[in-house]
Amino acid sequence: MAELIWSRRNFLRQTGAWAGAGLLQPVWPLIGAGKSIAAAYPEAILSIEKYTKGKLKPGMIISKDNADLVKDFSPEGLYVELQRGAQIKIADTTMAPDAIVAPYWVELTLRNRGKAVLDGKGQLWSPDGQPWIGGDPFPQPQSGLEAMWNHTWNITRYDDVREVALEKNIDSNGALVREGTGFLVAVQSVGRIVKEPKPVLSAYKNEHHRVVVTAFKPFDLYGLASLSTIYYDNSRLPDTDLYIPVLRRTRRVPSTQRFEPITPYGVLFVSDLGLHNDPLLTWSWQLVGRRPLLAPSPVNKGAFAPGADKESFTFVESNEKFPRSTWELRPEMLVVDGVPPADSPYGKKRMYIDAIYHRAQTADIWDRAGRLWKFLAFCICDTGITDNMGSTARMFSGSVIADLQKNYHTNIFQQPRLGDLDFRVNAGFKVEEWLTPTAMLSRARR
């Protein structure tokens, strides 16, 4: 048995090295020198037309009739969705390294290159033993854990954010069975870049960030708020407090129930938010390969591009099971397998992390029996709304969370505005005003 495991690992390592052989030179030194990423990769993996020897061209629509054309370089879940009727459009590969990451974040990643340290547990630190100071900690990740730190360290890349969104749950018949709306406010406690105090909120220095989600719809959830306090120590589960409107009180609730639907009909688990929402060190991670793969294109602007319609393939709000979106060939994707804690019904999660953006937009999840269970696709775009740092905010425009076994979907559509609430980043939201039980009470529906 031991020999079998060794052989499998060895095989995966060798496969990964072989697949990565397409890399001409590391991409991040090129970005630092202000050069195009094109010099890092052979032309054959920067153009989907060349990669598929002319079978695919930008502008083509992929559906169940021609899904086989993308099978070899798709996340497994995407291929299943295409066979079931999803439609995607193919676009050119985006060359800008800041297409879905704040420009200042790219500069920070370059400035802090080589400074990140992992301790024996795998926890991330600055060299002086203080919390990490921002930017992606590992511009050239060598392990699954390093790649995951890049993805999860400040998932939005902003000091604070307020998002407003619609949630649609669609059943196996394709019917919209439940619809919700709500908003989220998150504030970083460490690694703050833009808003004073920085880099750390000293009152919350043992925390990583706090996030509160408040529901407006459906009617029986109206006013419910859920506050999570995420600790810097990534082996510790968050604390969760709820504001419960019928009680007019806040209550501490367990945060261990991370692997069940958040809402009726929903397939989104707490664990799935942002593709991976559990403390990193409660899972184990392994880099199993690097290869070109399809990923959502930054043109998927959803509600951030007014006037777009279904035919634009930009993740426009719809009641369809798999909203139409645009995908492109990414030249280097890190394939990272995560094994969850023993209480999880998941057997494995495979994260596809872009080596240029250091962010994942897709993941496949298998159950304990080894059957493909879920597919997650999160679109990120340039919203055109200020990031309060001289540029525009790159943020999630929409997501698909698909239960491939039950054939249910939870689709999320971020909005620039919902009623009085608008989307903002680096806006100076304060923990004391938004993210404590007292703040939830003072903001509560009465």
Binding site: R178, P218, F219, E260, P261, P264, G266
Partner: protein, 88 residues
């Protein structure tokens, strides 16, 4: 010296077991007055769709304490209830 007024306390337990992707919940509410009264309410809550909920539950009030305002006095409303809710 006046005798101390009897201390009145109520112990309550609520259990909710979601099933079928949380669409259906089996619920139990029990409230117990140690003086000798109780309320038991087993039920089922069905979230039919975005706006529609259906509850089926049984109320059982009882016990020896049937004074005014105490749980035992409410035995008249024992029985099965069906509640249909449409929310906006």
């Amino acid at each position: 010296m006046e005798p101390a007024a009897p201390r009145r306390c109520l112990r309550a337990a609520v259990h909710r077991q979601p099933l079928w992707q949380k669409r259906l919940s089996v619920e139990f509410l029990g409230a117990f007055d140690p003086d000798g009264a109780h309320r038991l309410q087993p039920g089922v809550h069905w979230e039919i769709s975005n706006h529609v909920r259906l509850d089926l539950f049984y109320n059982e009030f009882g016990g020896s304490e049937k004074g005014a305002g105490r749980l035992g006095s409410l035995f008249r409303v024992n029985g099965v209830f069906l509640r249909f809710t449409y929310g906006f």
